[in-house]
C-alpha cells in the first residue's frame, strides 16, 4: 500500500526523482526516467486496461442487465480502478512545458464564449412547455397563498427542496407561471453555472485556455440536456449554482489575507452550501470535496485547516439534516435497502466518466439513424477518449486526484440509482453536478498540452458535443408537443362530458411516460388537467406502480363505472385521448317493498 500511496501522492516518481506541484499547477520537473522502462510499463498498463475495458463494454452491451449479474459491474469497476491506479503509478507524471502560446484575447473574452455556448443551443427549449412533474410543481406553487406556504408544500414528496419550490412560486408570481419564463430561468442558471465553472477553472487550472475548454465542455455537453430542458430538474441547476458559489467563496477565503474578509468569505461559502442542500440533496458530499481540496494544498497547518473548515461544512450539513427532519418528519428520500451490490458503488463515478466520453443516446440513435451511425459515433468518441487517456500523463497528480475526487464524491448521492443508467436518458440529470470534475479534467488536459497542440482536437470534441446536444433536445421538443396535445384533448373531453357544469370523473390509463428518453406526462395528468381547466377535475390514474396512489389495472378490470365516470386512455397514433368505457345510468332494482327509495338515496 505504501508503494501505491507514494505513487498516488506524486511526491515520489516511480524512478525516484521528485516532482513537486501545487494545486495551482506550477511544476518543477526532474529529468525523465529512461524511456525503455516507461514504454514497457505503458504497454503493460495499456494492455491490462484494454482487456478490462473490452470486458466491460462486452458485458454492458451484450448481456441483458439483470439483477443476478449486477455484481459483475462492481467487480469490473474495481478491476478498472486497480488498472488505472497501477497504470498511472507505473507510467507516472510526464510534465510538459507550461503553455504560454494561447491567444491574448482568450483570457479577456473567454466568458463571452462560455455565455454564448451555454445559452444559444438551449434557446431551442424555450417553447417546450410543461412536462411530467412540472405540472405538479406549478400546481403546488399556484395553490399556495404565499412564499412560506409554497416552500412547505409536498410537491417533491419525499424530498426537502424549499429553494426550488420558492423559485416555482416566484415564477408564478412574476410571469404568471408561463413555461417560457421557467425555461428562460433554466437557461440562465445553466449559463451561470458554466461561467462559474470557468471562473473556478481560472483559479484551479494553470491557463485561461484550459479553464475555457472546461467551461465550454460543461456548457455544451449532451448529458446536461435533461437538466436544462426539463423544468422539474431545475433543482440540479440551483444546487450546482450554490455548490460552485460555495467553492468560489472558499477560494477567495483561501487567497484573502484580511481577517474580516476571510470571515465574510467563509460565512458566504457556508451559506451557499446550505442553499445548495436546500435546492437538492446532490450537494451532500460537498464537504468531502472541500476537505480534499484543502488537503491537496501546500503550506503549513494543512491538516488543521482541512479539518477546521471541513468541520464547519459538516456542522451546516447536520443543521440541514435537522431542518429536513423537522420539515418532513423523517429523513425522506427513496426508500431502498442499502448494500454493496445494489448500489452503483464504485460504478457510478466511472459510469459518469464513461458517459462523458461516450454520450450515446441509444434510443435516439436506433430510432432516427442507420444502425451503422451508432458505430461511427462510438468510433469517433473512442478517438476522443483515447486523446483524453493519452493526455492524463501530463496532468499533475494532485490536480488529477482533485478532478477525479470531485466526480467520485459528488456522485455519492446517486450510488443507489445509477448502476445501469447511461447518458441522455431520464437519469442523466443526476450527472449534472459530478461531471464538472470531468470538465475540469478536460480543461487541464488542454492546458497541459498547450493551445497549439490541443486546440484543433478540443474544438472537434466541443463541436461534436454541441451537435449532439442540439440533436438530443429534439425528443424533448416532441415530448412537449405530445404533452400539450394530450392535455388539450383532456380539456376537450372534460368540456364535452361535463353535465350541468359538473366535471366528469376520469380514470386514466396508458399515458405516455416518455418519448425517446424525454419525460412526457406519467403520473402528473391530474395536476395538468386541473391547471389547464382552471378548476378541480376528479382524475385518477390506473397504474400498478406502488405508492402512486392510483388504481391497480387488475382492479380497474372489475371496476364498475357510475354515470358521469369514464375510463379514458391515450391514443398513441393520434396523440390524443379516447374514451374506453363510460358508466351507464343505473336502473335500480325493486328489491323489496319497504326499502328501494331509501337505498337509492343513500349511496
Amino acid at each position: 500500500m505504501s508503494v501505491l500511496a507514494t505513487a498516488l501522492s506524486k511526491r515520489g516518481h516511480p524512478e525516484g526523482t521528485t516532482i513537486v506541484n501545487t494545486a495551482a499547477g506550477e511544476t518543477r520537473s526532474a529529468p525523465s526516467p529512461p524511456q525503455a522502462i516507461l514504454r514497457k510499463d505503458r504497454l503493460a498498463a495499456a494492455i491490462a486496461a484494454a482487456v478490462v475495458l473490452v470486458v466491460i463494454v462486452y458485458v454492458r452491451s451484450t448481456v441483458e442487465p439483470a439483477q443476478d449479474i449486477a455484481w459483475s459491474y462492481q467487480v469490473l469497476t474495481l478491476c478498472l480502478v486497480a488498472v488505472a491506479i497501477a497504470g498511472r503509478a507505473l507510467t507516472g507524471f510526464r510534465p510538459q512545458k507550461p503553455a504560454s502560446d494561447e491567444p491574448a484575447g482568450l483570457a479577456r473574452w473567454g466568458w463571452l464564449l462560455v455565455l454564448l455556448a451555454a445559452s444559444l443551443p438551449y434557446l431551442l427549449t424555450l417553447k417546450i412547455g410543461l412536462l411530467s412533474d412540472d405540472y405538479g410543481l406549478l400546481a403546488a406553487a399556484r395553490g399556495s397563498t404565499g412564499a412560506l406556504q409554497a416552500i412547505r408544500s409536498d410537491a417533491f414528496v419525499a424530498f426537502y427542496r424549499p429553494v426550488t419550490l420558492f423559485a416555482w412560486w416566484l415564477g408564478d408570481a412574476l410571469w404568471s407561471g408561463s413555461p417560457i419564463g421557467y425555461h428562460a430561468l433554466s437557461i440562465t442558471l445553466h449559463t451561470l453555472n458554466s461561467l462559474l465553472v470557468y471562473i473556478l477553472g481560472r483559479r484551479l487550472i494553470p491557463t485561461a485556455y484550459g479553464a475555457l475548454a472546461a467551461a465550454l465542455l460543461f456548457a455544451l455537453h449532451p448529458m446536461h440536456v435533461e437538466s436544462v430542458t426539463w423544468l422539474a430538474a431545475s433543482s440540479d441547476l440551483f444546487c450546482t449554482a450554490f455548490s460552485l458559489s460555495s467553492l468560489l467563496l472558499l477560494e477567495h477565503y483561501l487567497s484573502t489575507s484580511s481577517k474580516p474578509g476571510r470571515l465574510a468569505f467563509l460565512l458566504g461559502a457556508l451559506l451557499s452550501f446550505l442553499l445548495a442542500l436546500l435546492s437538492k440533496e446532490a450537494a451532500l458530499a460537498l464537504p468531502g470535496f472541500v476537505v480534499l481540496r484543502l488537503a491537496l494544498l501546500d503550506g503549513p497547518h494543512r491538516a488543521r485547516r482541512s479539518l477546521g473548515i471541513g468541520g464547519a461544512y459538516a456542522l451546516v450539513f447536520v443543521g440541514y439534516g435537522l431542518l429536513r427532519f423537522l420539515a418532513l418528519g423523517k429523513i425522506g428520500g427513496y426508500a431502498m435497502p442499502l448494500s454493496f451490490w445494489n448500489t452503483a458503488f464504485p460504478s457510478a463515478p466511472l459510469l459518469m466518466l464513461g458517459d462523458v466520453l461516450f454520450p450515446v443516446n441509444r434510443t435516439l440513435f436506433s430510432a432516427e439513424l442507420h444502425p451503422y451511425a451508432l458505430w461511427f459515433a462510438v468510433a469517433l468518441m473512442a478517438a476522443g477518449a483515447l486523446w483524453w487517456l493519452r493526455g492524463i500523463q501530463h496532468v499533475p497528480g494532485r490536480r488529477l486526484w482533485l478532478w477525479l475526487g470531485f466526480v467520485f464524491l459528488m456522485s455519492v448521492p446517486t450510488w443507489l440509482f445509477l448502476w445501469r443508467q447511461s447518458a441522455a436518458t431520464e437519469w442523466s440529470r443526476f450527472a449534472y453536478l459530478p461531471t464538472i470534475g470531468a470538465a475540469w479534467l478536460f480543461g487541464d488536459l488542454c492546458a497541459a498540452r498547450g493551445w497549439r497542440r490541443s486546440a484543433p482536437t478540443a474544438a472537434a470534441i466541443l463541436a461534436v458535443a454541441a451537435a449532439l446536444t442540439i440533436w438530443y433536445i429534439t425528443p424533448w421538443r416532441q415530448a412537449g408537443r405530445i404533452s400539450s396535445q394530450v392535455v388539450a384533448a383532456g380539456v376537450k373531453l372534460v368540456d364535452r362530458l361535463s353535465t350541468d357544469g359538473e366535471p366528469p370523473v376520469l380514470y386514466v390509463t396508458d399515458l405516455p411516460a416518455a418519448w425517446r428518453g424525454a419525460q412526457v406526462l406519467a403520473y402528473s395528468y391530474p395536476q395538468a388537467l386541473n391547471l389547464a381547466c382552471g378548476r378541480p377535475v376528479p382524475v385518477r390514474m390506473v397504474t400498478s406502480r406502488p405508492g402512486a396512489g392510483g388504481i391497480h389495472p387488475d382492479v380497474m378490470a372489475h371496476w364498475k363505472l357510475k354515470p358521469g365516470e369514464h375510463l379514458i386512455s391515450y391514443d398513441a397514433r393520434a396523440h390524443t385521448m379516447r374514451i374506453v368505457r363510460s358508466g351507464q345510468a343505473a336502473v335500480f332494482p325493486n328489491l323489496s317493498p319497504e326499502t328501494p327509495e331509501r337505498m337509492i338515496a343513500e349511496p
Partner: protein, 246 residues
C-alpha cells in the same frame, strides 16, 4: 520490487475481469435471450388458443429443458396448465416461478388459486397473503383473501382484509360484498346492509348483493351461509378490457 508489485496488480485486474466475464457468460448461457423466449412463449400461446394444447405444452417443456431458469416460458406453461384444469401441475410450475422470482405477486396469487382449487386452503391463504404483502395496492388480492377467510370461518380476520379491499377497490362491487358478509358475520348488520347497498349502487344487477340484502332484511340474525361464495373471476389485465371495447 515496486514495479513487480504494480505489474502484478495489473495482471490480477485483467485476470479478475476475465474471470468475471466467464461467470457472466456462463450465466448468460443458462438463460437464452429475451427474443428467443418471447418467441417460444408467444408461439405456444397461439397453439394453445388454436386448441393444440398438447403441442403447445410440448414446445414449452422442450424449451424448459434447454433453459430451465427461463421464467417467461415457465410462467406460460403454468398458465396453460391452470387453464387446462391441471391444478397440481400448474401449482408446481407456479411454485418454481416463485422460487426463481421472489416477490412475484402474480405468481403467488396464481399458486394460491391452484392450491385452493386443489383443496389445500390453508396454504392457499398463506400464498395469497404473500401476494397481498407484495402488491398491497391490488385490491383484487384483498377481495379474494376476505372471501377465502370467510369460507374458513374466520370473519374477524376477513373483516380486516375486506376493509382493505374496499379501500383499494371502492369501485368493485365484490369488495363491498366481502365487507358486507364480514360485517354480517361479526354481528354488524347495519354496516352489512350499507355494504350490500353500496355493491348494488355500483352494479344494480348483482345477484349476490340482491339475495344477500333480501336475506339480511328478512332475518338479520341468521348467518349468511348461503352468501359466502361470491362469484369473482380471476383478475384480467387491463389490455383485455381495451380489446373487448374496441
Amino acid at each position: 520490487m515496486k514495479r513487480a508489485l504494480l505489474l502484478s496488480l495489473l495482471v490480477a485486474s485483467a485476470l479478475g475481469a476475465c474471470a468475471t466475464l466467464s461467470a457472466v457468460v456462463a450465466s448468460k448461457a443458462r438463460q437464452p435471450t429475451i427474443q428467443f423466449t418471447t418467441q417460444i412463449a408467444a408461439g405456444a400461446q397461439k397453439l394453445f388458443e388454436a386448441g393444440q394444447r398438447e403441442e403447445a405444452r410440448s414446445a414449452l417443456e422442450e424449451a424448459l429443458e434447454i433453459a430451465p431458469d427461463n421464467l417467461i416460458v415457465r410462467r406460460e406453461l403454468a398458465m396453460q396448465l391452470a387453464a387446462s384444469g391441471e391444478t397440481e401441475a400448474a401449482a408446481e410450475q407456479f411454485r418454481l416461478v416463485l422460487e426463481a422470482s421472489p416477490r412475484d405477486a402474480g405468481a403467488a396469487r396464481k399458486l394460491a388459486e391452484m392450491l385452493y382449487a386443489a383443496g389445500d386452503r390453508e396454504n392457499a391463504i398463506t400464498y395469497l397473503r404473500l401476494a397481498c404483502d407484495w402488491e398491497p395496492g391490488n385490491g383484487m388480492h384483498w377481495i379474494t383473501l376476505a372471501q377465502w377467510l370467510l369460507t374458513m370461518d374466520d370473519p374477524n380476520t376477513a373483516l380486516g382484509a375486506a376493509r382493505k379491499s374496499v379501500e383499494m377497490a371502492p369501485g368493485v362491487p365484490e369488495a363491498h360484498l366481502a365487507l358486507g358478509f364480514s360485517l354480517w358475520e361479526t354481528g354488524d348488520t347495519e354496516g352489512a346492509e350499507k355494504s350490500f347497498v353500496d355493491a348494488l349502487a355500483l352494479e344494480p344487477d348483482n345477484a349476490s348483493a340482491k339475495s344477500a340484502l333480501s336475506a339480511l332484511r328478512a332475518n338479520p340474525k341468521a348467518l349468511p351461509l348461503s352468501g359466502r361464495s361470491i362469484p369473482l373471476e380471476s383478475p384480467q389485465p387491463i389490455s383485455n378490457i381495451l380489446e373487448s371495447v374496441e
